[in-house]
Every structure is written in C-alpha cells, then in structure tokens.
Symmetry: C2
Subunit: 181 residues, 2 copies
C-alpha cells in the first residue's frame, strides 16, 4: 500500500466534516463535488473512492451531523439543558449556520432525498425526542419542543431585522423554559 492504513478513514472523516460545514452554509445542492474536494486539498476524481454518489454523501452527513447534535442533548440536568437551548436559540446560532444544527439547515433537502437518508434522519430525530422527553412532560411535549426550536431558528434566519428575530427567539425560549419546569 502506498498510503498508511488509516489514511482512507481519516480522509473520509475530513470530507464529512468539511462537506457538512459547506452544506449547512450554502445548501447541499449547491455544494459541488469539485468545490468540496478542492477545499479538502484533493481533486474530484478521488471523491468516488469514498462515496458511491453525492446522495450517499448526504446520508453520511446526516448521520454524522445529527449524531453530534444528539450528543449535545444527552445526559444533561434540567439546568444544563436550558443552557443548551439558550445557545440554540441565540443570535450567534442564527448567524452561523455552518457551525450549527443540521436539522435546521438540511431538513428540506433531506425531505427530497432517498428513503435511506430519511430513515437515518428519523432514527436521529426520534433519539433526540427520547432524550428531551426526560426533561418535559412526555413524548408529545418533546416533539413540540423540537418542532418549535427548529422552526424558530429557520424562520429567524430568513427574516431581515434584528427586532423581529429577537422577538421570535425570545418568545420560543420562554416557552421552552416553561415546558421544562
């Protein structure tokens, strides 16, 4: 072998990290294979020794990105969770999609993707709902909380003024806190 044994998996991990960031920023459809590989310091031909197709990449991004989000929700006290939620509903999260939650950035594209990708997405969302349900009054309340958090960040990002963004984010944060008590 001309490359060290761990080379392939580390390159793959690097591509996942990088493509996740690019897709959250510009959209998955607008993230070209050429541009991704160039950003990784490679050429486009090498992409296909890591992923069979671009749609397989989306599936891997969803697994990787939502897995990380799930970790952020896991094993928290109520107080710790409130800190996480405040960070989620913050201006800095709204202003920096690239470092933020993939559900908010990519779910419309997941909705248009393969069944497999949707299954991965669902598995992760259900796990997040189960985790949140430990802090609120049941599974229904957990679904409601997830929906309003994701919806709020999405809508805030598409509105122009700081005023409207803040009104929206504060309203939802207050509601989340009431649900946890």
């Amino acid at each position: 072998m001309r490359y060290p044994p761990r080379h392939k998996e580390s390159t793959r991990a690097r591509l996942l990290e990088l493509s996740g960031t690019l897709a959250k920023k510009d959209g998955f459809a607008s993230t070209g294979v050429d541009a991704l590989m160039a950003a990784a310091g490679l050429t486009s031909g090498a992409f296909y020794s890591h992923f069979r197709s671009k749609s397989e990449l989306l599936e891997a991004i969803v697994e990787s990105e939502l897995g990380r989000s799930l970790e952020l929700l896991t094993g928290k006290t109520n107080e710790q969770l409130v800190v996480v939620l405040k960070s989620y509903l913050s201006a800095s999260h709204v202003d920096d999609p690239a470092q933020g939650c993939a559900v908010t950035s990519l779910s419309t594209e997941v909705a248009r993707s393969s069944l497999q990708t949707k299954q991965v997405f669902e598995r992760m969302m259900v796990a997040m709902k189960d985790e949140l349900s430990k802090h609120v009054s049941g599974h229904s309340a957990a679904w409601v909380m997830i929906s309003q958090m994701v919806g709020a960040v999405m809508i805030a990002r598409a509105m122009a003024s700081e005023q409207s963004r803040n009104d929206l984010l504060e309203a939802v944060m207050q509601q989340c806190q009431e649900m946890i008590r």
Copy 2:
C-alpha cells in the same frame, strides 16, 4: 403591439404560479430557468423580459406564495382557524409540498438570499403572527405557534415512517388547540 395588452402580466402571473410550485417541490436552487420556461410552454430567453434575474424571481415567489398563505389565516373565527391548522398539520400537506406552504419549503433558501427577499419574507411572517395573535394569548404565543407548525411539517417531511410522522403531527396539533382555547 403584437400581443394583447394584458398578455405580459398574465404570463408573469403564470410564471409565478408555476415557479412557486416547482421551487416548493424541488427547491429553488434546483429549479432551472430552462425547465421553468419549458414547463410554461416558452423558451428561456423570454424569462428575462419578466424578471431581471433568478434571485428577483425568488423575491417575487416569496411575495406571491406567502401572500396567499396569509390570506388563509385572515378573518377566521377560532373554529375556522382550527380547521386551517388541522389541514396544515395533515398527512396530505406533508406529502404534497408543491401545493403547500412556502415557508416550510423555501425558508432555508430565503435565509441564503438577498436582503430584499428577506425583508419581504419578514413582512409576511410578521403579518401572519399579527393575525394569529388574535386567537392566542399575545404576540409571543403567536410566534411560538408559527414556529412549531413550520418546524413540525419540515421535520415530518424528512422522516421516513408514517408512525413517527403522525406522532409528531398529532403532538403539535394538540398543543395548538390548547393554545387557542
């Protein structure tokens, strides 16, 4: 003039209707000018006598689509509003984005668009919030309701199983009904 006086505005209206449908189904970025004009029975050159650029088209779509959504919320009794919300949180809305709400389908792309487009989006969202606030306990509650409805449909569309979709949609619908009482 070789064309009747109303020709231009009626063609523009047709293009708006059609491009709105296509963009909600496939995403705005994936909706090519060629494909749009071909679907309208025209050729791509004619596009630019109606819109200066593709990004101006998005602005017009947001105005047109969200204007229609706003109308659906306007002047309802509590009972009539519940019917609208049930339809919004229905399986058929989840399964048919092309005929559905543009906020759910296009907001991530609006978030990546021009300031002008975001301003149009914001104006429409604030108007919807004001309308909803007549049915719930204040403007904060209206923002919360909008967020959870939009988030719920987006997440439901990206999940694979009917079971999870229904759990989510029913949870949010129940919460909406409690907010209206």
